[in-house]
Amino acid sequence: MQPAADYLPEEGRRAIRELGKADIVVGIPSYNNARTIGHVVMAAQAGLAKYFPQFSSVIINSDGGSKDGTREQVLSARVEEAHLLLLSTPILPVHRLAFPYHGIPGKGSAFRMVFQMAKELGAKACAVVDSDLRSITPEWIDLLLRPVLFAGYDFVAPYYHRHKYDGTITNSIVYPLTRALYGLRVRQPIGGDFGISARLLNRYLARTDWETDVARYGIDIWMTTIAVAEGFRVCQSFLGAKLHDAKDPGADLTAMLHQVVGSVFALMIEYEGVWRKKQGSEPADLYGFRFDVGLDPVPVNLGRMLDLFRRGCQDLREIWALALEPATLAEVIRLGRDVDPRKFHISNDLWVQIILEFAGAHKHKPFARAHLLRSLTPLYMGRVASFVIETEPLLSDQVEERIERLCIAFERHKPYLEALWTGHKPVRPARETAALGAEMEASR
């Protein structure tokens, strides 16, 4: 583990000496985001000037070695103050800094540098926003920071409208599982845009697991889980629509899936004492004025997803057998034999059992973890394909209701997870009734 003081680059330490102190820090991690980061920086700057003029603020871009002029975009982005209706005077200047971070390349390492800077500057609150956002407005900065600065919250999670096929890792695994485990309904636990108090920031920095999957895509769920599981005050802010650049086609999204899920499973081991005491779930406080928005359609390639699932059933059986109970595995293999896009369906119960059995195997089979997590991809693709087929004719409210049903299935299976966790023979809870299947048929 690198000591925190060594983690900051020399130019970061110099900036701290020059600035001395800042009340608010806004962090923007980036890697080749020249196309969008200018807009994000301007929105953050305008938000700080408009809503927090009495606070000294710094915007920090923590860059992973971009080669497309991302840092230059950050430093040159300007907001014409005449374009903003600013009633408060005087307005303290908003400083902008752009540094490359050190350590393992990834979003988590970028956040670590931002948090360290925020701590050294004595910030009262810190917000982080993604650099690929196209829908960010100055109001986002207000909505992420105000609950921390004026209402005593430690962690503000985002709450957005997203297209029904956007955020499928969130909808199919992370949200239902986190909610069932820790009993709090944080709808976008890996949203990427958060507000954090100084108290929680110090807790994050005191942790010793930064150089794991947390350094990469595991950071978002790690932050949310620590906040919820350790009893920090958590709320959500409604930010409107989340529109962002399409994922980098060169990026290995299998890695993203296994880093996020691996972090969830690792935190389950750490917080076993917390989640085993929880039953059911309760809503998290939600701030902001809710309104409907138009969303970009998200294209999905159903054929390729189903093909990947079918191939997984053919080739990965021996690896899945390390995690799945014989009955679950048999059901999955049966589905893989006849992948018909008109009929294909992975039920909520089967999907919950798959995820929970993988979680149990992650605990009990440490030497097989890497293979198990990577082998989850075809199963996940199968579930997403099933979700796409099931929700194709549905409107967003109806889709949200389907996600709610999945969440309830996760909560209902908690005793099943506990049995898997303690090594006892798990007993499957009563199945979702055939009525649900009939309803699904009717909805087609």
Binding site: L308, K365, P366, A368
Partner: protein, 233 residues
């Protein structure tokens, strides 16, 4: 005549009986040592298997997922492997001791050779075992990767990788033992040269497909860019 014949035969028997009488006790001792050794080995095998089973090593290896990496079928049992190893070590020692009891020039040479060779054999065995374990791990990683990336015939690719690692381990063990060094080295070079050539052809084919300038009429129209497989994430 008969008297002479009797004398000759008695002389021959006497000449045979003398060394036989001298050798027989050693032979009996050797046989006894061997039988005793086998009995001890059988007993030790049972004790080893029982002790390891009682200590829960098999259960730990199965639960931790290590067993699936050690045995190709995933049904690896430490108790069985250790028990067999203990059995053969004791039987091997008994054979050497019984040969030593014979005290002949040939057996002495055999024992000397075995004593010199044994540590090398054990090391070579460890190299091969480590190779098998690595092959299983790397093969499984390849299988998952190939399946996720949509590579055709992932099982074949994984088996090829597994075989390459095993060949490398066997070549390293043979090199350590100075056994057929040239044969293994040549096989190793041919295998990797073939793999490198195959890789180069694959890369060249992909590069041609992606970067070749449009030549024919059919290629002059701009193909519609394919949507990312992962956009929905």
């Amino acid at each position: 005549m008969i008297e002479s014949l009797e004398k000759i035969m008695a002389g021959a028997f006497a000449r045979l009986a003398e060394p036989a009488a001298a050798f027989l006790p050693r032979l009996i001792a050797a046989a006894l040592i061997l039988v005793l050794g086998v009995l001890v080995a059988v007993l030790a095998r049972r004790i080893a298997a029982g002790t390891i089973k009682a200590a829960g090593v098999d259960r730990f290896l199965a639960q931790s997922g290590l067993a699936s990496l050690l045995g190709l079928s995933g049904r690896f049992r430490t108790s069985r492997v250790v028990a067999v190893a203990v059995y053969w070590v004791i039987v091997g020692a008994a054979i050497l001791m019984s040969l030593s009891a014979l005290n002949t020039a040939l057996t002495s040479r055999l024992i000397e050779g075995a004593v010199v060779l044994l540590p090398k054999l054990v090391t070579a065995g460890v190299i091969v075992l480590a190779g098998l374990w690595t092959a299983q791990y790397v093969g499984r990683s390849t299988l998952v990767w190939a399946c996720n990336e949509g590579i055709p015939r992932p099982r074949v690719v994984a088996s090829a990788v597994r075989a390459a690692v095993i060949v490398a381990a066997v070549a390293a063990a043979a090199d350590y033992l100075d056994f057929a060094r040239a044969v293994f080295l040549s096989g190793f070079i041919i295998l990797f040269a073939g793999a490198a050539a195959g890789l180069a052809v694959g890369v060249a084919t992909l590069a041609k497909r992606h970067f070749a300038p449009p030549t024919g009429r059919a290629e002059t129209t701009e193909p519609e860019p394919e949507k990312s497989f992962w956009d929905h994430l």
